[in-house]
């Protein structure tokens, strides 16, 4: 089967398009999150989506509405993480742990009420980008534009708070508001990414391209550009490899990402 033959499949075209958009978003946000030591927030929010997905499946929502229903739940949880950290005066990782475990617990309860784990729930847990529908692709494209436009408009503020919060504050930047926006954008992206690599592997899609890019980049914009290239390459490569070898797509994408991380680390070592 040639490349042209493969690209004739409509489901694969949708998967490649959606995967590229989501990989680009994860890679951009990942640079800010990794440098701000908020890498695991993606993991925490993904676990929350597990609860909302289980609820949607309990009420037999259609696939596209399952994702849409997850949005408010994840946005509220994102704000919850920030508020718990602020009000209870605990570190962010502990706040992520609290919200994350609560999301998992709710998900297990609801899945149990729905008669146990079924195929639909597994497709969200481990990803199934090849099953992405036209409607889901449209939702992905709309959220892609919203998130990317917000990042573009706030780029310098996000860069400033990532470099040093106090210096940003003394430049007149509202640090707390900018932090909240970053976390909310991450929450939206997590909802999109759960269909690509699955709830269990979302954090890798946020972390690995960014960490790989940071091995190579010589400048902040370069870091974001490289992160996007690595993220998109691993998603496209992962989709093709998994299709050809008939292996799970989400896991293949993450393994491709890991190999790119290894390659960038080796390149950095030899460049010295």
């Amino acid at each position: 089967m040639t490349l042209a033959d493969i690209l004739h499949f409509a489901f694969l075209q949708r998967a490649l398009l959606a995967g590229t958009l989501i990989a680009a978003l994860c890679s951009v946000l990942g640079v800010f999150l990794v440098l701000r030591r908020l890498s695991l927030i993606g993991d925490g929010l993904a676990h929350v989506t597990f609860g909302s997905v289980a609820l949607a499946l309990l009420f037999r929502f259609q696939s596209v509405y399952t994702s849409i229903a997850a949005i408010p739940v994840v946005l509220i949880s994102a704000v919850g993480i920030l508020k718990i950290a602020e009000k209870a005066r605990i570190f962010g990782d502990a706040a992520i742990g609290i919200v994350s475990s609560l999301g998992i617990a709710c998900g297990i309860m609801l899945a149990s009420l729905a008669g146990g784990f079924n195929v639909d729930l597994f497709s969200y847990l481990f990803g199934n980008i090849l099953s992405i529908s036209r409607e889901e692709l449209i939702v992905t494209a709309i959220l892609f534009v919203i998130v990317l436009l917000t990042v573009a408009l706030l780029y310098n503020e996000l860069f400033a708070i990532t470099f040093e919060e106090e210096l940003a504050a003394t430049s007149g930047i509202r640090v707390e508001r900018t932090n909240n926006i970053l976390v909310l954008l991450t929450a939206l992206t997590v909802v999109l990414a759960m269909k690509v690599v699955g709830i269990m592997l979302i954090s890798a899609l946020l972390i690995l391209p960014a960490v790989s890019a940071l091995q190579l980049a010589r400048g902040f914009k370069t870091a974001i550009f490289l992160s996007v290239c690595i993220g998109v390459a691993s998603v496209i490569g992962g989709i093709f490899v998994s299709f050809l070898l008939n292996i799970p797509t989400g896991a293949t994408i993450i393994i491709c990402n890991f190999f790119l991380f290894l390659a960038s680390s080796l390149f950095k070592r030899f460049r010295r």
């Binding site: 470099f163 210096l167 504050a169 003394t170 430049s171 400048g219 902040f220 370069t222």
Partner: protein
């Protein structure tokens, strides 16, 4: 009549119920070079953070250029170099030029885009600090001295009226420290920049500063070095030898 660029009245700040600053009142006039000294935990950094709005004061009033701290918006008039910044993530992927340019954000409104005037200001600031040749280097790759120069270039990129530096020479070797202080002296003398230098190095602060503020949760002394050297209270605090050392160096 000279007007205070910073005025503080009755400032108190407590952390978890323990007072770190109590009833602080003083003013700083344009063109002053104030050395703020005191033992560890005396509230020096907290005082700077209160002035900059990074810590919310429990009581008291702070005004910057005649505006209350809460309403102050002209951040480009203040350059700030915080304590311990040289210890930040060494793998941060920002070039010296990118870091210095960030200082220009205080002049911008949403969506805070940079233009040619910013590039010119960045180039000028880099040149003034003598670091134009390393503009494309990553900030984390620099030695402590060069990194501190880069961060000072960032603080100076708006040609601020006030420069606040919190223990800026802690990680520097003696030679680099000397050249760093020489730059500050030049800015104060030739540009009229008001300098506020927080340091634990009370023995050498007299070489540079025109006024001294001795803090230990409250103000124990604030005045010129001449007044400091004549003060019996300070003899009690530093001992004859310590006071003589500071005054002699000034």
């Amino acid at each position: 009549m000279q007007v205070d660029v910073i005025s503080i009245k009755g400032l108190s700040f407590a952390y978890q119920g323990n007072y770190v600053l109590r009833d602080i009142s003083f003013g700083i006039t344009a063109g002053d070079y104030v050395g703020i000294v005191g033992p560890n935990g005396s509230g020096k950094s907290t005082l700077m953070r209160c002035i900059l709005g990074l810590n919310a004061a429990e009581q008291g009033e702070i005004s910057l250029f005649g505006a209350t701290q809460a309403s102050f918006a002209e951040w480009h008039r203040i350059g700030y170099l915080p304590q311990g910044l040289q210890l930040f993530n060494p793998n941060f992927p920002a070039t010296v030029e990118e870091v210095v340019r960030l200082g220009r954000l205080s002049r911008k409104r949403f969506p805070r885009r940079f233009d040619h005037s910013d590039s010119a200001a960045v180039a000028q600031s880099l040149e003034m600090m003598g670091i134009s040749s390393i503009r494309d280097k990553l900030i984390g790759e620099l030695s402590g001295g060069l990194r501190q120069r880069a961060l000072l270039a960032r603080a100076l990129v708006n040609e601020p009226d006030i420069l606040i530096l919190d223990e800026p020479t802690t990680a520097l070797d003696p030679d680099t420290r000397e050249s760093f202080y020489a730059i500050l002296k030049d800015l104060n003398k030739n540009r009229g920049t008001t300098v506020i230098l927080v340091t634990h190095d009370s023995a050498t602060v007299g070489l540079y500063a025109s006024r001294l503020l001795y803090l230990d949760k409250r103000i124990l002394f604030y005045g010129t070095f001449k007044e400091f050297c004549a003060s019996d209270d300070m003899t009690g605090l530093f001992g004859h030898q310590g006071q003589h050392l500071i005054c002699h160096m000034h």
